[in-house]
Amino acid sequence: MLIKLARLSVWNRRATAVLTLLALSISIALVLGIDHLRNQAKESFGKTLSGTDLIVGARSGSINLLLYSVFRIGNATNNITWQTYQELARHSAVDWIIPISLGDSHRGYRVLGTNEVYFAHYQFGQHQPLVFAEGKQFEGVYDAVLGAEVAQKLGYKLGDKIIVAHGSGEVTLSKHTDKPFTVVGILQPTGTPVDRTVHISLAAIEAIHLDWQGGVQTSGHKISAEEALTFDLTPTAITAMLVGLKSRTQTFSVQRQINEYSEEPLLAILPGVALTELWSMLAMVENLLAVISLFVLIAALMGMTTSLLSAMNERQREIAILRSLGASAGYLFLLVEIEVLIITVLALLLGAGILSIGLVFGQHYLAQQFGLFVSANPIQAYTPLAAGGVIFLSLLLGFFPSFIAYRRALNEGLSQRL
């Protein structure tokens, strides 16, 4: 009867109850949503690179190396010589090496010079390899393979010609117009920086820079695309290497050997460690978002308390009637708290529902626009605990209107002031 009474009482004041419910649902959806995106971003961030045991670059900071080699953000301070690459490739513990050569771009997208090992061994997520949506990997010098986003945003299809610009950025760069590339392959979306990358061969990087010196095209003699093919296109330097080892147990000893390499200053980092390190730098933003969403939730809960408090005046009659029937003051306290509980539980369900529906519809957009792959299910292992926390908080705030009901019941007696 108590629950029925609470239910019908809430329903009786449905106009305010529905608004309160909506405000609370939206804020709960917001809290859950931000938390969900945070988790998913963290997860997909951690999954950017997989299967690689060491990242090797010229000596700088580990975050810097991670940023330019994996996220295509910033630039390398220095290059690695091709000899070093060859030497490391001969190392007994090394299974494979993906060479990476950066520095050029195409309409804002980074161009990455590499070789066939990239398509064979580059992995993301949970050891997912790269898959071609269309076409195949490059074979000729002037072949290019596009990431999913590059192809989609710029509207490229197989056979299109693209021009690579020297340096990175979107405008006013000198372009390698004399040596256009043909799109031979387009990769499937990965949700990683691979989607925003134009892949060409190391030989191509050499070829387009044959007649360049110190960042400008030499004015003297130009080498045409065909002529360039007659040159020895073995690279002299690369930017970084992704190294796969035969056995993971050797990771630390190989890392130490690379870091102590005497021929040139190198830095080898463990991708997992560096990714965690980088993510922890973003923790402040993450925490800020969490705090903001928490405040929104508290504001909504206070809104509920306010609406219940203001309802107390019009409910004086109800309280007097219940008292006359023999309801104790504690019963009235409980009645209001159960109303709070009903609204909160409904808001939790509705909030989770709103978020799930939003995610189902937003999934595609998030993947397209931000390369963020989120699951539609926002429920985590700790979600019930968080829901319990919300209920606890609402009951705590519900204490105020409940206490007023209790005190009214004791003091006002059966008098029914209108």
């Binding site: 009867m1 029925k4 009474l5 019908l8 009482s9 329903w11 009786n12 009659r317 109800e318 007097a320 009637i321 219940l322 008292r323 006359s324 029937l325 023999g326 309801a327 104790s328 003051a329 504690g330 004791l410 007696g413 059966l414 008098s415 029914q416």
Partner: protein, 236 residues
């Protein structure tokens, strides 16, 4: 549960003084009030004469600072607040002037709500509710919400609700003031007829002296009240 003894007076008040603060002038002071079991008492007095205070004391909502309040030999002043609430739920039926019912509950649910607070079992409550609904001609709107009834219908439901657990005492606070004279007489007859079945004692409060002929005894509340005008004006 406290036992009701029929041979004791239904209501027994002695040397009762009530005020919100101990230092204040008492709002109500009653030297002696005796009501025999089964009596129909008409309690009249102008507004502000302490009627509601007396009703709050009789129903056990408030407790006087001094004096004895006994209902069928059960002292209300010595019971805990919770026990007093239970006692009220068990043995008293209260009818208000107006707005007696929980507006968002159906007629039937209003009756069952009353039974919910008393010791009545669910089965008995349903049966009794049905009997009363039939007896009071409410059968056609037993599932209608109270807020959709006319005032006269609401007062009939209020009577039914007061009677559902066969109370020893029915306290009615200006129950007819919202009714026209025809409905008023019908209401009083209805109340008396149904109260007789249970043998309930009735305390009927009104400022309308013309109703006194229905009752076995009339009591002027101003005869108890210590609030006399000269003293009041002296304070102000």
């Amino acid at each position: 549960m406290e036992q009701i003894k029929n041979n004791l007076p239904a209501i027994f008040l002695r040397d009762v003084k009530f005020s919100w603060n101990k230092s204040d002038m008492p709002l109500l002071a009653i030297n002696d009030l005796h009501v025999v079991n089964g009596e129909h008492i008409f309690l009249y007095g102008p507004s502000g004469s302490g009627k509601s205070t007396l009703l709050n004391i009789l129903s056990g909502i408030n407790v006087p600072q001094y004096g004895t309040v006994e209902i069928f030999g059960q002292s209300l002043t010595t019971l805990s607040p919770r026990k007093r609430d239970q006692f009220r739920a068990q043995h008293m039926g209260i009818i208000f002037q107006q707005f007696n019912l929980i507006p968002y509950l159906s007629v039937l649910d209003n009756l069952l709500l009353r039974a919910h607070f008393s010791a009545l079992s669910k089965q008995d409550a349903k049966q009794k509710a049905h009997e009363l609904i039939v007896a009071l001609g409410l059968i056609n709107f037993s599932h209608k919400k109270a807020q959709h009834l006319s005032v006269g219908q609401q007062q009939r439901v209020a009577v039914a609700r007061a009677l559902i657990n066969s109370p020893k005492i029915i306290i009615a606070d200006e129950p007819t003031s919202a009714l026209d004279s025809d409905n008023r007489d019908v209401f009083i007859e209805l109340l008396f007829k149904n109260a007789e079945v249970c043998g309930s004692t009735i305390i009927f409060v009104s400022h309308d002296k013309s109703l006194s002929h229905f009752f076995t005894r009339s009591v002027d509340i101003t005869s108890f009240s210590m609030r006399n005008r000269s003293k009041e004006s002296a304070i102000c």
